[in-house]
Amino acid sequence: MSVAVKLLVMFLVFAGAAITIFLAVAYSTHLPVSEQHDVQQRGYAIRGRWFLALVLFLIASFAISIPFYPYMSAPAALAPARKVPVIAEQYAFIMASHLPVDKPIIFEVTSRDVNHDFGIYNPRGHLIAQVQAMPDYTNYLRVIFHKPGQYTARCLEYCGIGHAIMAKTFTVGGKQ
């Protein structure tokens, strides 16, 4: 399953569960009417459990997500890597056109004019990594390309009328 399908399935499962609950509650208005007092007594008990379950789920999700953060750790920053400068400007990326496969690469991304975003799409068109390109700052993005082929960098921060044509293709692997 691609990342896109996984994200959509996750969204649809959660959204479907929520909508089912809403539909069930909506249907209950056709059942005999209950006293509000009785509804509240049962409701508050369910609410307490929902509160606990939700808080635990959210904190666990937060903890699980931390190791997958894209920010470079100090050892990774110091380890040997190919440094690739990327300069973004309206409406182009100035960077190398050929990059090695299976080698750590650190993109040094900055901008000459306005805010841009350096988004890398793999040969199948999936967005695999990105970082903002800002004037006055340099963002370091560490990537290892495992598959050779033609990649496309697209701008993912609106930067003016030519934003949609701001792209740069580069090849990974093959002959140097």
Binding site: A4, S28, V33, S34, G43, L54, H126, M134, Y158, I161
Partner: protein
Amino acid sequence: MMPTSDNTGRRVMVLYMGTGLALTASMMFAGLMLRASQAGWMPMSPGQFYAVLTLHGAVVIVALMLCGMGGLWFLMRRQTSLSVAAAVIAYACIAAGAAAVIAATLFGGFAGLYTFLAPLPFHGSWPYWSTGAFLIGMTLITIGWMAWCMQMLGAVLRAYGGALGALAWDFVWHRKAFDASGRPLPPPEALPVLMAGFDGMLAGMSAMLLGVALIVRWLDARVLINPLWAKNLTYFFAHTYANLIIYMLAALIYVGLPYATGRKYHTSAALVVGWWCSMVLTLTNYFHHLYMDFVQPGPFQYLGELSSYLSAVPVTVVTIFSALMLVWRSGMKWTLGAIFMYTGLIGWVVGGIGAEIDATVPFNVHLHNTLWVPAHFHTYLVGGCVLFAVGWVFLCLESRSIRRTRILVRWVVGLLTFGGMAVFLMGFYCAGAYGVPRRYAIEPAPGPELAKIASIGAAVMIIGFALAFAEGVRLRFGYPEGEATIRMTQEVEA
């Protein structure tokens, strides 16, 4: 709730909500044009596309803000006296600002987007005056917004005995002493007012700071603005505005659903604590807009994710859960007002789920600035905020009209509006998951194909809303004659 003798209060609400809903309706057509253009069905140059996109974003925020402001103003006026002049002045500032924004985008072609992320407004292909007109317009809107916030803050502080009283502090911590003191307890709808007033002032201050800095830069090109500072301020105020809109309109549920279900809704300790949490979390959530800024201080990234996650707790445990308890086996009649309000809750939750997925840093790598972002906020704006406002209007109409909406009309309106909306929104979600960037006049595949499906869905949804509008007009002409005479007499006497 609805039967009220406060005709002045109602007229202020009608002014705000009428303007808000009229602007929202026109922006739905603008949005449909944008999607149709991406589908390749409507020729637009990139310059036109981005100018309309700028207009669409800025005006929708202002329009829904006006709906929430008018609704809360009306609700607060039932609690305490409010100056009509102050409300009209705030409205005039916002209307003038909106006019400047419309002129800057439609006539000046300003296309720096409603976020006007510095330094883009000064590096555009549009005339220099339009940048200034847009910035001054946004500043005027913020001045009107802050004037309203001050009026509402003053009202809640006056009505419930200062800041601690409005926060219901003693009610939570010293319940017995509070009950014995006989001090007034804020009703549920006063808590969103306090939140909008307080968080709204902070957001307004940051918008003013940024707006003035950019206007100075517009006047003198030698001024330097730090882009990371500007980005933090931009997302702080823009995120807070967008969030406050839904919390403000949620106040209408607190009054509308008890009316529709014939049940009571009181302030409880859980409700109060829930709103305290929302007040704080709404201010720290904006960090999730800067996940892909690796130069942003690291702790903020972790705080952004944790805070975004935790904001789901007060919303679902307090407001949504209470609403479900109100409806459960209440025998509620499914009038159009009830249908819109209840479905608005679904849009709020589903949009929230989309937001939480995007607020997860490892997922944000794949979703940041893709169409997933407009997917989730359209879910809670058009599927939540708009429905709360429209539902409120219908509850008001239904409470006074002698006419009733036929069941067939309710089914047709519901199916067209919500069916069209679901198709329209799924177009965004699917494209976003496949990495199609947002804000592209011309999209890579599968963007254009999905834009076609989404355009059809949006058109069907607009037809549904148009039918609802026609039905609303029919209900409006069904007011009993006696009431109109009474109102006229009151006006003559006043």
